[in-house]
Symmetry: C2
Subunit: 430 residues, 2 copies
């Protein structure tokens, strides 16, 4: 047999395709590795991040300077900035990944068929995972560590505003992985800073097994619409808190304020409050005052507006647009509903499908709400802010899927795997 | 609160989008239904198929007549044809689906978090499932029954050559479902016979949750490339049989012939034979004769060709194209490899990732092959023909996924579900 050179079909390929092809080769090496070898490489990565902190911080300083020159907001500059402390924290996160169980090889189901064949479905890596993300350079390391632990090669496409930082980080990661005896190409930056390189990555079906966009709504929409590589949609969160007719008022106020204001910039923060009409008189005056104290502006429907004058709250009239807005700020939309069913209907119509909470003392209402609401997470008497890989005990999170295929909700290491069936017989034929 | 009419955002929508929107409404009704109600509807469907067989067969006769006029091959006409016996068999398949467990509501994982929150991940329907398929009208009923059982609404887009048959079948199914008190729109044909309606279905992201194309390679490629709705790729099978240096010769011949010739038109039939050089002298003469007896033409590399003259086999030289061809006919490509590793390399380069078998008496070789080969199914001393939902004991199959995301290998009812998390607290906040 004269096997064609494995490279031959790709002789004329673009730099992005070449990188993806090298990722595939690395993925083939990673797939059968035992946990210990992957963990050793991760420990080497953590050590290298600490030893080479100065190099990383110096590269980051160039990105930061460029961002300041371009008049970038301080909030964004802060997210971009790496300090020695932050690099240490990133290294510590890598060590946390070492402690997580390896999902690869787990037998998901298995048994013996009536004909005596042994059938096992076992977890295997996805292969090559592409991550397209925005400014935060810590994502570079987090994503690489989770992919390596789950036996996947990763192709990283960060923001061009973090180019120097990401280049330095990936250099450190690759050196460490190579030093530990694993292929450096397990971790690669997508070559090129242009939009074209993103487009090529999105069309690299057959070379890249999945793309995970992490960032704002427009980034995610672009990837979803243009990619031929399968995509896991993440992150958009227009989350609702519904206060039922039967609800403990203290609990309702606490969950509302926590869901909205404990941290406003995150996808699991609440963006809309729905209140059953039977409890509106008792609840809304307290809720509006509590929201005012937390600094939250209320975008209110007509019925909520009737409580505005008697409260300290800043209340503005809601338009239809408010029902679908993910504010990510100290704002909340609010409406009174006639029934649980109307709350469910409102949610179905406007939600991004991330997290919806009900506050109720009624077992019947809780059961009905959890049955009828179809979002990644339905919370009963708990804050929307719990939808999080860390909170769920997954140890780490590559993102929160808001789609239904493959993974839904917070994605940990098992969500970075596929499965294969192993059929074992004694010469069985049909 | 003045809730907008749920229909308002869709006032100007196309017929396909309107149908998809009705599917969504039906899906919302189906999702919380207990198993008994879905099973009753399925039994009503089975009964209706039997009671209204004449109507179905009459409609089918129009399609068959049209196909004959158009000079369609008898094999295709046969696949298109419905007889009273075949309708009875289809009804019987529906009754089999009734006996399968309902995946919806299954707790996939669950427990209590350190803070006392109860966390459960439960199976829920995907929502709206689109099926794009070719001539066989039995797929109409199979797909509808599996989707209904798993609480999904289905949007069916069959071949225009089966239009009359599918229209009659869907009319019968909808009447039965409606008669059982469930929404008729749980089962819909995509309106319109034109290519445009397929294109609209593929772009109905947000309305349709997943598209499953079932048919030839070009149909599947089109859907994969043009759809913004998530797709589950199915079916292409360039399956390999590798005969290791240490293999029982009788077993190897039997598995080879069964994998290739037990039924040649199916995706889990073998298309390439790889033989370790150390066993070639002993195995290939017997293998070639056995393939000749089964009527199989061998597309051979140079080393296999050297055994041709001494055998009864029809042997033609293989070109590179043969390594990637899914013949679906009495043809097989064949090559001698230097090692297990070279066999794996060949498979990685050319496989469609469906099923690969190793025949070996060596535990070490079996273990290495199953670790290194990354296809939906790896068979050890068993025919490739076992990769099948029925054979795997799933009771039914909506297709065989050859992609890594969401589902891989034969897809049964659980693969037609997603999950959601239910978080239950006592007023828990962060």
């Amino acid at each position: 047999m004269t096997a064609p050179s494995p490279l031959s079909p790709y002789d004329n390929m673009s730099p992005v395709a070449q990188a993806a092809y090298r990722s595939r080769a690395a993925a083939a090496t990673l797939a059968p590795l035992p946990r210990a070898e992957k963990d050793d490489a991760l420990l080497a990565v953590a050590d290298a991040l600490e030893v080479r902190t100065a190099e990383i911080v110096a590269a980051n300083a160039k990105d930061v300077a460029r961002a300041r020159e371009a008049g970038t907001s301080e909030a964004v500059v802060d997210r971009l900035t790496l300090t020695p402390e932050r690099v240490r924290a990133i290294a510590s996160d890598v060590r946390d990944v070492v402690t997580l169980p390896d999902p690869v090889g787990e037998v998901v189901r298995g048994g013996t068929l009536p004909n005596g064949i042994d059938l096992r479905q076992v977890r295997v890596p996805l292969g090559v995972v592409g991550i397209i993300y925005e400014a935060r350079p810590n994502v570079t390391v987090d994503a690489a560590a989770l992919c390596l632990k789950s036996g996947n090669a990763v192709l990283l496409r960060g923001s061009s505003s973090a180019y120097e930082s990401n280049t330095a980080l990936v250099r450190v990661l690759r050196d460490a992985v190579h030093g530990a005896g694993l292929p450096a190409d397990a971790i690669q930056l997508v070559p090129g800073e242009s939009r074209d390189s993103v487009r090529e990555l999105m069309r690299a079906r057959g070379l890249v097994d999945v793309l995970i966009p992490r960032g704002g709504a427009s980034l995610i929409r672009t990837v979803v619409e243009e990619s031929t590589v399968p995509v896991i949609e993440t992150g958009t969160g227009n989350c609702h808190v519904y206060v039922d007719a039967h609800a403990d008022l203290d609990t309702a106020v606490e969950i509302l304020v926590n869901s909205k204001a404990q941290r406003v910039s995150v996808c699991n923060a609440a963006e809309t409050l729905l209140v059953h009409q039977d409890i509106a008189d008792a609840f809304l005056p307290r809720a509006l005052d509590a929201l005012a104290e937390a600094g939250v502006t209320v975008h209110a429907d007509e019925r909520v507006q009737t409580y505005a004058d008697a409260s300290k709250a800043t209340v503005v009239p809601a338009t239809a647009e408010d029902w679908e807005t993910e504010y990510l700020s100290y704002d909340i939309a609010a409406a009174v509903v006639d029934s649980l069913e109307q709350a469910v209907e409102h949610i179905r119509l406007w939600t991004s499908g991330h997290t919806e909470a009900i506050v109720t003392t009624s077992q019947q209402a809780a059961r009905r709400f959890t049955q009828l609401v179809d979002s990644t997470t339905v919370a009963v008497n708990a804050s929307t802010r719990f939808t999080d890989g860390g909170q769920f005990g997954f140890g780490a999170e590559i993102g929160i899927s808001t789609q239904k295929l493959h993974a839904r909700g917070p994605m940990g290491l098992p969500e970075l795997t596929s499965t294969k069936y192993i059929v074992t017989g004694d010469g069985h034929v049909r």
